[in-house]
């Protein structure tokens, strides 16, 4: 090394060392693929995890615990993620029951107001809770089973909330109203179903069977578009086709549903829609 070259050799060593270090730590010997977080799961595994959370919620009705678990998946909007998964499940001819369970949890999340932020950081998982000297769970009905009180940092078991409403436990639906709709803002012909209970609240998870030929039918559920309403469902229809809507759990059949064009006073005609309101009898 020529002394006339100044201190460039030190910079060379620095660049070489850092590059070598990054090569080793990122490529040759990266952090091992273990101890991963649920938020890094592949999408299909996230679906498995999410449906398990929904099933566990269905079993224990512990919403705070379900929320804490859903937070781990890092979904921007857990309720919408659940509804979207239910929609995918139905589209792929998946398990109706799973779709219904997902929708129920989605609706339960929307029923409750957002919890107050107690900590800026996400709820610690059990391991961190344990490190903090706090057990990860309390127990059912406030009995903490011998562990210290006030430690519900994760997956809490608060006194059980009222059970989630499931349509199968309810009286049969009746048609409250069916009407043709002309709304220029709706650009595609839609059959919209609104399911409400006696109090006028939307009922999620109501299975709807729509058929338009002996071998052409589709199933969908209310609550898959929580941004519109918990008891809302829609189906993109074709104009001029006669549809039959069925609510299997109630034995309710709504026939002769036909969408026609709407003719405004001025301008071009546009596709109409059809609205069906179903509710529990008082």
């Amino acid at each position: 090394m020529n002394s006339d070259r100044g201190h460039w050799y030190l910079i060379t060593a620095l660049v070489l060392g850092v590059s070598l270090g990054l090569l080793i730590s990122w490529v040759i010997a990266p952090v091992r693929l273990e101890d991963t977080h649920p938020k890094n799961l592949r999408e299909d595994y996230k679906d498995v995890y999410r449906s398990l959370i929904a099933r566990a919620y269905q079993a224990n009705q512990n919403l705070p615990r379900a929320k804490a678990r859903l937070d781990l998946l890092g979904d921007e909007n857990a309720a919408q993620a659940l509804a979207a998964q239910a929609q995918r499940s139905l589209a792929e001819q998946g398990d109706q029951e799973t779709a219904r369970i997902l929708v129920n949890l989605s609706a339960a999340l929307q029923r409750t107001p957002a919890p107050e932020e107690t900590s800026p950081s996400p709820t610690p998982p059990p391991e961190e809770a344990a490190e903090q000297g706090t057990p990860p769970t309390s127990t059912e009905n406030g009995n903490n089973g011998g562990t210290p009180e006030g430690t519900d940092t994760y997956a809490t078991r608060t006194p059980l909330p009222p059970p989630t409403f499931t349509p199968t436990d309810a009286p049969p639906f009746i048609v409250e109203e069916r009407t043709k709709l002309c709304d220029p803002n709706i650009t595609v012909p839609l059959i919209q179903v609104f399911a409400t209970n006696a109090d006028g609240e939307g009922v999620p998870g109501v299975e709807i069977l729509i058929s338009w030929a002996p071998d052409r039918q589709e199933r969908f559920l209310t609550g898959l578009k929580p941004e519109i309403g918990k008891g809302y469902a829609d189906f993109e229809a074709e104009m001029g086709v006669t549809y039959t809507i069925e609510i299997p759990e109630s034995g309710l059949v709504i026939s002769d549903v036909v969408i026609t064009e709407c003719q405004p006073d001025s301008g071009d005609p546009y596709p109409g829609s059809y609205q069906i309101y179903i509710t529990y009898p008082n």
Partner: protein, 124 residues
């Protein structure tokens, strides 16, 4: 003589430069490793349930136990636990129970895990 002294000092200067070069190289290598392993490690995406951290695996097993308590469907529970990649579902629950006990899980949750483990052992 003058030439000898000059060569000697040049040689020593050269040695010092090499030494410095390697010292800086080692320090910067350490910095690179620390950055790559600790500060900004490789982030894995699209991982499977098998690579979950033990606390998450335990919570997963607990969810299965919570559902099993309601549906009593041992085949469903076995299929769900199989996704965690253990040799057997009972091994999975043994590990989960061990972790749960260390992490201070409450008794009802421990009972759920234990009941599922017992049910699995009976079904085999």
């Amino acid at each position: 003589m003058a030439q000898y002294v000059s060569t000697h000092f040049k040689s020593r200067a050269m040695m010092t430069r090499w030494t410095l070069f390697f010292i800086v190289l080692m320090i910067s290598l350490g910095i690179g490793l620390y950055y790559g392993w600790v500060i900004n490690p490789v982030q894995y995406e699209d991982t499977s349930l098998q690579t979950l951290r033990m606390d998450f695996k335990t919570d997963y097993a607990l969810m299965v136990a919570e559902v099993y308590k309601e549906n009593q469907d041992i085949t469903w529970a076995m299929n769900r636990l199989a996704l965690l990649g253990y040799a057997s579902p009972t091994e999975c629950l043994t590990e989960a129970l061990s972790f749960a006990s260390q992490a201070g899980y409450t008794l009802p949750d421990m009972y759920l895990l234990r009941d599922l483990k017992n049910a699995l052992e009976e079904s085999m």
